[in-house]
C-alpha cells in the first residue's frame, strides 16, 4: 500500500480536539491511558525482536494538586528493540511521527499513544521527559526532552551517550503527569491482569504509588508468529483504493494488475474473475472509466471464488498460547480454546479466538465473566455495547447445559488489520454481521466442548457416587449377614466390588 503522507498540524490543537480519541478525558482516565499506551509500545518493541517482553512500570507520587488530582512520576522500562538515536527526539517529542501506518495487525493505530501521554504530562506539569534507549549496540543514549507545542517540534534539553557494556537493548521512558490513581487503580490492575492473560509470554511488573508490587510472570516463552504486511483483499476494496492502485501500478493489462496488487489473486483466479466480469485481460487498467472502476469494485465483491485472506498478515495468539494465558491468570478447572479460520469483513481479514474457562478460581457471579481483547490488548470499557456481549446474551446457553450462575469466564480475542471498533474510543467491537457470525459460530463451538466436559464430569461424578454407594453398602451387607447367619468369617466381597468398578469403567 502506498506510504501515507504526514500532515503537520498543531499538536496541542490536535490534542485538545482529540482528548477523547486518545483517552485522556479526565485525571483518572489519563493515568490509565498513559500506562496503557507505553506498555503497549513496549510490548510491540520486544515482539518486533521476537523476544519475550519484560516490561517494568513504576508509578510514584510526586505531589498534590487538588484533593482528587496528584502529580505522579511514571517510568516504563522494556527490553525491546530500542530506538535509533536520531529518531528518539521525534519519536517522543513530535506528535504523529510513527511507524504504525502499514497494512498489518498492530496494537495501536494512531501512532500517537506514547507521545500523547508525554504531551499530556508536559501540559499538566511543565516538566521534561527522560528517554533512555539502546538498540543493543555499543552505546546507550540519554535524552531530556520537552515539546515545542506550537511548532510540534522536540526541544532537546540534554543528551548523553553512555557505554553499553552489557549489550542492553530497550527503552526507558520517565515523565511526570497529573492523575487520580485511586480512582484509576481497579482499571489499571485489570489492565495488567488481562494484558498478562493475552500476552502469556510477557513478564509484567507494576509498582504502584503505595509501593505495592504487582508481578505477572510469563507462563511460556513461545510467541505467536509476527504479522506480515499484506496486499489488500479484493473483497475489501473501495473505489478510492482502486483508483489509487491504478495510479501507482506499472502494469499495463488487467490480468497482471489483478495478480500483482491483490491478496490471494493468482493467474487462474484472475482469469476466472475477468471472464466472470466480462473484462478483457489485456485491458489497460489506467484506461478504465470511472463507471468501469465502480463496476469493477462491485464485481470484485460479487465474485465468489476469491480465496479468503491468508492468516499470514494476522498474528492471532493461537489456541495453545491463549489457553496458557487463561490458565495462568484465571486458574480454571477446565478451559477450551478455539480459533476460527480467517474471515473478512469489508475485505479486512480477521480471526476470532474464543476461550471458555470453567471452575477453579473463577468466581460465581450470577453472570459470565467476559474478557474482550483486540489485537492482544484488553478492552475494558463499554462491555455491554460490544458485539461479543450481544452474542453471549442472545445465545441459548441452556442448550449447552450451561447457566449464568456457573463459574464461567469467556475470553474473546479478535485480531485484524483493521479492528472494527464502533467508536474512536476503541473500547468495543462493532456489531458487524460478518464479525457477529464468526463470534457466534465459534461461541457455539466452545460451548459444545464445554457441554461435553460438563456432561462427562457429571457422568464421572455420578459414577464416583455410584461406586461410593456400593463400596459403602456391600461391606455392611457382608457384616450384617455374617452376624445374622452366625458365621465366623466375613464373605469375600472384593470380587463384587471389582465387578462394579469394571462395569463403571465401561459406562464412561
Amino acid at each position: 500500500m502506498a506510504q501515507a503522507t504526514f500532515e503537520e498540524i498543531s499538536a496541542s490543537d490536535f490534542f485538545y480536539r482529540n482528548r477523547d480519541i486518545a483517552g485522556f478525558t479526565n485525571p483518572s482516565r489519563a493515568i490509565f491511558a498513559a500506562i496503557r499506551e507505553l506498555v503497549e509500545n513496549s510490548l510491540d518493541a520486544a515482539e518486533s525482536l521476537r523476544i519475550p517482553p519484560d516490561v517494568y512500570v513504576r508509578l510514584s507520587f510526586e505531589g498534590e494538586v487538588s484533593k482528587e488530582t496528584q502529580i505522579f512520576r511514571l517510568r516504563v522500562e522494556d527490553n525491546g528493540s530500542g530506538i535509533q538515536p536520531r529518531h528518539i527526539p521525534s519519536a517522543f517529542g513530535q506528535v504523529l511521527f510513527g511507524s504504525k501506518y502499514k497494512l498489518k495487525q498492530q496494537r495501536g493505530t494512531f501512532g500517537l499513544g506514547g507521545k500523547m501521554a508525554i504531551l499530556y504530562g508536559q501540559i499538566t506539569t511543565h516538566q521534561p521527559a527522560y528517554v533512555i534507549s539502546s538498540t543493543g549496540m555499543a552505546k546507550i543514549y540519554f535524552f531530556r526532552l520537552m515539546m515545542d507545542i506550537q511548532k510540534n517540534r522536540p526541544i532537546i534539553l540534554d543528551r548523553k551517550v553512555l557505554i553499553n557494556k552489557e549489550q542492553w537493548h530497550g527503552t526507558i521512558v520517565e515523565f511526570c503527569l497529573e492523575g487520580d490513581y485511586l480512582r484509576a487503580m481497579p482499571k489499571i490492575l485489570d489492565y495488567f491482569k488481562q494484558t498478562a492473560m493475552v500476552n502469556p509470554y510477557a513478564n509484567l511488573t507494576f509498582v504502584d504509588p503505595k509501593g505495592r508490587l504487582y508481578k505477572f510472570i510469563r507462563g511460556t516463552n513461545e510467541m505467536p508468529e509476527p504479522p506480515k504486511e499484506t496486499l489488500p483483499h479484493p473483497y475489501g476494496v473501495d473505489v478510492e483504493l482502486l483508483q489509487r492502485l491504478i495510479q501507482i501500478t506499472s502494469y499495463k493489462n488487467m490480468l497482471e494488475f489483478l495478480k500483482s496488487h491483490f491478496h490471494r489473486v493468482g493467474e487462474i483466479t484472475a482469469q476466472k474473475f475477468l471472464e466472470y466480469s466480462d473484462i478483457s485481460p489485456s485491458r489497460n487498467p489506467k484506461k478504465l472509466s470511472h463507471e468501469e472502476i465502480v463496476r469493477l469494485m462491485h464485481m470484485l465483491k460479487k465474485f465468489k471464488e476469491f480465496l479468503p485472506p491468508d492468516a499470514g498478515c494476522l498474528s492471532p495468539l493461537g489456541e495453545d498460547l491463549l489457553k496458557a494465558g487463561i490458565v495462568k491468570e484465571l486458574k480454571p478447572e477446565y478451559v477450551v480454546v478455539h480459533q476460527r479460520k480467517p474471515a473478512t469483513y469489508a475485505g479486512h481479514p480477521f480471526i476470532v479466538e474464543i476461550g471458555i474457562a470453567y471452575g477453579g478460581e473463577i468466581p460465581k457471579k450470577g453472570s459470565f465473566m467476559i474478557y474482550r481483547f483486540a489485537n492482544r490488548i484488553p478492552l475494558l470499557y463499554d462491555e455491554a455495547s460490544d458485539v461479543s456481549f450481544k452474542v453471549i446474551n442472545s445465545m441459548n446457553w441452556r442448550r449447552y447445559k450451561v447457566s449464568p450462575d456457573m463459574p464461567i469466564a469467556i475470553v474473546v480475542h479478535i485480531c485484524s488489520t483493521k479492528v472494527p471498533y464502533k467508536t474512536v474510543g476503541k473500547e468495543f467491537i462493532a456489531d458487524r454481521p460478518e464479525v457477529r457470525r464468526e463470534i457466534a459460530n465459534e461461541m457455539r463451538e466452545v460451548a459444545r466442548q464445554l457441554q461435553h466436559f460438563l456432561t462427562r464430569r457429571e457422568h464421572v461424578d455420578r459414577e464416583k457416587k455410584r461406586l461410593g454407594v456400593f463400596s459403602k453398602y456391600l461391606p455392611k451387607i457382608a457384616q450384617f449377614s455374617t452376624q445374622l447367619s452366625e458365621r465366623k468369617r466375613l464373605p469375600d466381597i472384593e470380587k463384587l466390588l471389582k465387578s462394579v468398578k469394571k462395569f463403571g469403567a465401561e459406562e464412561i
Binding site: R466, V469, F470, Y473, L474, K476, I477, A478, F480, S481, T482, Q483, L484, S485, E486, R487, P491, D492, I493, K495, L496
Partner: protein, 355 residues
Amino acid sequence: MIEKRNEILGSLRDLGTRVYDQLDSGYFPSITIPSRSTENINYDPHLRQFVLGDKSVRRSARNIRHVKPFTQLVWAATFSHELTSQRKTSTLRDVYYSAQAYEMTFKDQQESNNIVTDLETVLGFSREDFNIFPEERSAVFGDLTIEYTVPGYEGRTLNLTSHPDGVLIGPALTSAEFAETSADKVIAIEKGGLFTRFIEENVHKKFNALLVLTAGQAPRATRHFIRRLNNEMNLPVYIFTDGDPWGMHIAMVIISGSANAAHLRELNTPDAKWSGVWATDIVNYKLPTDPLDDVDIKRLYELQKDPRYKEDPLWQKEIKTFLKIKKKAEQEAFSRYGLTYIVDKYLPAKLEETK
C-alpha cells in the same frame, strides 16, 4: 410363645444365611419380597381380610437404587434378631435412631418404617413378633387374669381389674398368656372418655365384659389382642365407635383388617360386631348431631365401594342412611339424656340387637 420366638429367630437367621451364601459364592445377593403395591392387594372373602397376590419384587444389591434399602433390610433383620434373642423390645422410633449407631442413617421415620414393613413382608411375621412395638396408647380393663412371659416377670400373674385406668396393651401384655376370665364378652370402645365412664359405671360387672380402649384406630397389637380374646377365650366382640364414617371404619379394621397389613395374618377378628353408633341410631335415638362435611361424604362413597363393606348388608344400609340424613353423632351425644343413659338404655339394647 417360646416356640414362636424360636420360629422367628430361625426365619431371621435363614434370611441372613441366604444373603451370606450368595455373597460368599460371589453373587450380588437378592431377596424376593411379595409386592405390596395396590394392584397386588386383593380381598379374600374366606379369610375376610386383604391379602397379597402372587406378584413379587426382587430387591437386589446389584441395583444401585436397591443396594441401600437392601442393606437397611438386612440391618433391620439383624437388629430384630438381636432384640428377639435378648428378649428386649423396641419401638419404630427406636429403630430409626438405632440405625445411626451402625452408620445406617435413614432419611426419615417413614423410610425406616417402610423397611420394617418390608421385613414383615419377607418373613410373614408382624413386627410385634420380633419385638418392635408402636407407641402404647390403647388399654384393657376387666376380669381377665394374665400370666407374663417377659423376662423378670415369667410366671407372675395379673388381674386386669387391678388398675381403674385400665392396663396398657404393651409388649408385656401382648406376649402374656391368658389364664382365666369370668367375662363372656368383649366391648371395644373408640374413645378414652367413654372407656372411663364404662369403668365408673361398672359396665364390666353389669354386662360381664372385658373393656378395650382402641384410642381411635386400633394399633395392630390391640387388634391382635382382641383376636386372641375372641379365638382363645371364645369371647364375642362388640365395637362401639362414633357415628360417622371414620368410627365405622375403626370397627371395620378390627373386623376385616387393613390393606396396609395385607401381608400379615391374625390381626383381624372377622366375627366381631359393630354395635354402634349407627346412622339409624342417630335417627332412632334423636341424637344431637353435626352435619357431614365434604370429607365425610367423600369417605362414605369410598367405603361404599370397598369390598369389606359388601360382606354384610348392615354396612351398605348404614352408609346409605348417613348419606341420606347427612348427619353424624359422637358417642358422647347420649349425654343429652343424662350421663348414665348410654349404659342403662343404649348399651343393653345394642348388645341384644347385634348378638
